[in-house]
């Protein structure tokens, strides 16, 4: 009996050579425990050394290997061939980003947006190292912990219809990471992360919720956005209604 095999249709785009992205078919051995990334590595090593894509840890934590798999944003190190077999699999670069080459997208926009939310602890006064750690109870940790799990894989940006239409939108991951610091009991910098509450921040979000659905680390960016909306609105009302000194 012939060895079972599976066909992958993979985006090829080489700037200066291809006019536009095209799909190229590769038929690879089907193995029960292979993920899409294993199939891509098989293609690269044994069939076609010119295919380019990013990958590194192959265990779902470095965030490099996000691609569209049959139209859905996935980490390819966690997308098993068996879930698609015997059908064909379409592997494409993440949508909503410019393509650099083949399956490699340009994510520099996210890096700028990440920096704009000031994703670091801001203190009015730093405590000297010699005085030890800031105490933080397990409950205080739990209030922001899930938002620290973001691996910057960009699946949520690929899933977000608003980011597709409004490139200025800060987007799910950047907002979730900004919110993560706002919620951290050690942080005092919420009033400096104004970008989250601005026009290009949370108010662009129409609460489609796809970001939370595709997140491979079960972060809920939609919740971060909704909670930020409530808090921003509350602060705004307070600033109007409360007399000076109580804001």
């Amino acid at each position: 009996m012939a060895e079972p095999s599976i066909t992958l249709n993979v985006t090829r785009y080489r700037p200066g050579r291809d006019q536009e992205p095209l799909l190229q078919s590769y038929t690879v051995p089907f193995r029960e425990d292979w993920v899409v990334l294993d199939a891509l590595n098989h293609i690269k090593d044994e069939m076609d050394g010119t295919l380019s894509y990013r990958w590194s840890c192959r265990m779902g934590v470095c965030g490099s290997c996000g691609m569209m798999v049959n139209g859905t944003p996935k980490l390819t190190c966690a997308a098993f061939l068996r879930d698609y077999y015997p059908g064909e699999i379409r592997v494409e670069p993440l949508v909503n980003f410019p393509i650099i080459r083949d399956l490699v997208i340009d994510m520099s926009d996210f890096l700028d947006k990440l920096k704009s939310v000031k994703p670091w602890i801001i203190r009015k006064e730093e405590k000297p190292i010699s005085q030890g750690e800031y105490l933080q109870t397990p409950a205080e940790l739990d209030s922001y912990k899930q938002f620290t799990q973001c691996i910057n894989c960009m699946l949520c940006y690929a899933a977000c219809p608003v980011y597709g239409l409004e490139p200025n939108f800060l987007g799910p991951a950047a907002i979730a990471l900004g919110y993560r610091y706002n919620m951290d009991s050690r942080d005092q910098g919420q009033d400096q992360r104004t970008v989250i509450g601005n026009h290009d921040g949370i108010w662009h979000c129409t609460f489609v919720g796809e970001c939370s659905v595709v997140c491979p680390k079960h972060v809920d960016p939609a919740a971060a956005i909704q909670r930020s909306k409530v808090e921003t609105a509350k602060n705004w009302f307070q600033s109007i209604l409360l007399p000076w000194g109580q804001r």
Binding site: R14, P15, G16, R17, D33, K44, D45, E46, D48, G49, T50, S52, Y53, R54, W55, S56, C57, R58, M59, G60, V61, C62, G63, S64, A78, I100, R101, V104, M107, L111, L114, K115, K118, P119, W120, I121, E126, K127, I129, S130, G132, E133, Y134, L135, Q136, T137, P138, E140, L141, Y144, K145, T148, Q149, I151, N152, L177, Y181, D184, R186, D187
Partner: protein, 576 residues
């Protein structure tokens, strides 16, 4: 040509920490952070279990030092160990101040857990994604320093050395395929380890020893390269790491008869709850050897990916597993279809870490003027012949900081590099890449084939148990592969994001690293720490209480030796 004060290669834990340390010396310093991946993709991200420092009243610096030196089988430089344990607590508190989400005790203090070879609970953790959280905290914190300028996805190809001084690096910009000069008065290599020279490893794809090989080619010694750590608990097939914290929390290793076999190797007696330094909390080198002994006795399981034993966490219960080991549950469920709440996890030893690396002094400085190194790329030597789990994340911070500060201080008196010379050196480098890879007419050797043959040679010749004949064979095979590498095929001629070219450059680096490992191992005729020879089963302090130094020569590595620094702990038999 881009000019900075300091050029750091590698954006993992050590590189980011060095960058921040240098940036804090002066905001006038311009610091380049060059990495072949975005920094948050670096392999620090995969570290799971924790990071060690003395932060509790029941602990002491001397005890941490002693555990480390004992674990290292007395090959660690004790002055480096003392500096390390001294500075470790401050570094971890600093990271706490920078927002690392450490797991907490009910009173709000950072929690500590047990780890292999450590006498007390001194390993801080953020669930079982400690490296991930440390890396992201460092990366996000680094964004606030405007004088850290990143070169993301720029691939190191060589060090620029002019007149005996390091003057920067050449790097291949993946976006346009150009070889660019990134010049500086000092270079800090933090480019990680090279576990990918072996076929079965926990290491990420990017761990190809680039920094080690670049320093080696520039004439710097690689120290103690024969010491390669096998982690006893990797998933069969993929080699994905199942953290030592699963044993720190109380997990058991069992053979196919359901028997906690470590008690047969002097690590007993078995206890219900974990005992420091005993049984499953023994050091990694010893546990990996025990596994191989069980294999020889026919007491391991046999699966599609070879031998394995069981890591049993069931008695810990779902709540502890979810709270302390959620990533272990996720990885086991996803990659081997086992839920550790209900079933034991299949595990086997897997290449995990290189104790060896670029030889540096206690301030992370190498023998080459202007060159520094820190992290797994470097060998200070803190880890000697066997590293204790949870010391390496702390090492990134302590020696990353030392490197950043030392470089920032030293360059105050260094003149700027002459641009003409550097551009000429860069043109040479571009021509080399064109000649060797991009514009060659033909070739018949596939990258993947040579890589697989190298990895096989390393597994057979430089694995857990070694002997003269298999190591010699590995050395010969690697020489032949070096010749065959000249006839490599590169099909991809496109300049944008040419990952076939980078795969070739990585293989080129790995062949150098592999040769230093095999040749250093062949010459060390004793067993110490992770280096275990069936033909020389005893430690031999008389002849081999010394560091191996491998220097680059046209005929392969030239081996020399250097003394070990002993301060307060005289060598004794290493027994747990």
């Amino acid at each position: 040509m881009f000019t900075h004060d300091i050029v750091i290669v590698g954006g993992g834990g050590a590189g980011l920490r060095a960058a921040i340390a240098a940036a804090e010396v002066s905001n006038k310093l311009s610091i380049a952070l060059v990495s072949k991946v975005y920094p948050m993709r670096s392999h620090t991200v995969s570290a799971e279990g924790g990071t060690a420092a003395v932060l509790r009243e029941y602990d002491s610096l001397d005890l941490h030092a002693k555990d480390t030196i004992f674990g290292a089988d007395f090959l660690a430089d004790q002055d480096a160990v003392e500096a390390f344990v001294n500075e470790a607590p401050g570094e971890l508190i600093q990271l706490e101040h920078w927002g690392c989400p450490w797991s907490r005790d009910p009173d709000g203090r950072v929690s500590c857990r047990s780890f292999g070879g450590m006498s007390v609970d001194r390993t801080l953790f953020a669930a079982d994604k400690t490296g991930f959280h440390m890396l992201h905290a460092l990366f996000q914190t680094s964004l606030k320093y405007d004088n850290i300028i990143r070169y993301d996805e720029c691939f190191l190809t060589s060090l620029l050395v002019d007149n005996g001084k390091v003057r920067g690096v050449t790097s291949l910009n993946l976006y346009n395929g150009q070889v660019e000069v990134i010049a500086g008065k000092a270079v800090i290599l933090c480019a990680g380890g090279g576990g990918r020279v072996f076929p079965f490893t926990t290491n990420a794809a990017i761990n190809t020893g680039d920094g080690m090989a670049a320093a080696y080619r520039a004439g710097v010694a690689l120290k103690d390269m024969e010491f390669v750590q096998y982690h006893p608990t990797g998933l069969p097939g993929t080699g994905i790491l199942i953290t030592e914290a699963s044993r720190g929390e109380g997990g058991w290793l069992k053979n196919k008869d359901g028997y906690r076999f470590l008690q047969d190797y002097g690590l007993g007696p078995p206890t219900e709850t974990p005992t420091h330094r005993k049984m499953e909390l023994g050091p990694r080198d010893i546990l990996s050897r025990c596994h191989m002994q069980e294999l020889a006795k026919g007491r391991t399981f046999d699966g599609p990916y070879g031998h394995y034993v069981h890591l049993d966490l069931r008695h810990l219960g779902e709540e502890v597993i979810n709270k302390k080991l959620p990533f272990v549950r996720e990885l086991a469920s996803k990659y081997v279809g086992i839920d550790p709440v209900y079933e034991p996890i299949p595990v086997r030893p897997v290449v995990h870490y290189m104790m060896g690396g670029i030889s540096t002094d206690i301030n992370a400085k190498t023998a080459l003027d202007g060159l520094y190194a820190a992290g797994e790329t470097a060998c200070v030597s803190l880890n000697g012949a066997n590293r204790l789990g949870s010391n390496s994340l702390t090492e990134l911070l302590v020696f990353g900081t030392r490197a950043g500060r030392a470089a920032a201080t030293a360059i105050a008196t260094t003149s700027a590099p002459a641009s003409g010379t550097l551009e000429a050196l860069a043109s040479d480098e571009q021509r080399r890449l064109n000649r060797q890879f991009l514009q060659k007419s033909a070739g018949k050797e596939r990258i993947a084939t040579l890589r697989q043959e190298m990895q096989k040679a390393m597994e057979v010749g430089a694995g857990i148990y070694r002997d003269e004949q298999s190591m010699k064979q590995a050395c010969d095979t690697l020489r032949t592969l070096r010749e065959r590498f000249k006839d490599i095929i590169i099909e991809d001629q496109v300049s944008t994001f040419n990952t076939e070219l980078t795969a070739a450059l990585e293989l080129d680096f790995m062949l150098d690293v592999a040769e230093t490992i095999a040749n250093s191992a062949l010459k060390r005729k004793e067993s110490r720490g992770s280096h275990t020879r069936t033909d020389f089963p005893k430690r031999d302090d008389e002849n081999f209480l010394k560091h191996t130094l491998a220097f680059c020569s046209p005929d392969g590595p030239r081996i020399d030796y250097a003394p070990v620094t002993i301060t307060r702990w005289q060598p004794e038999e290493r027994k747990y």
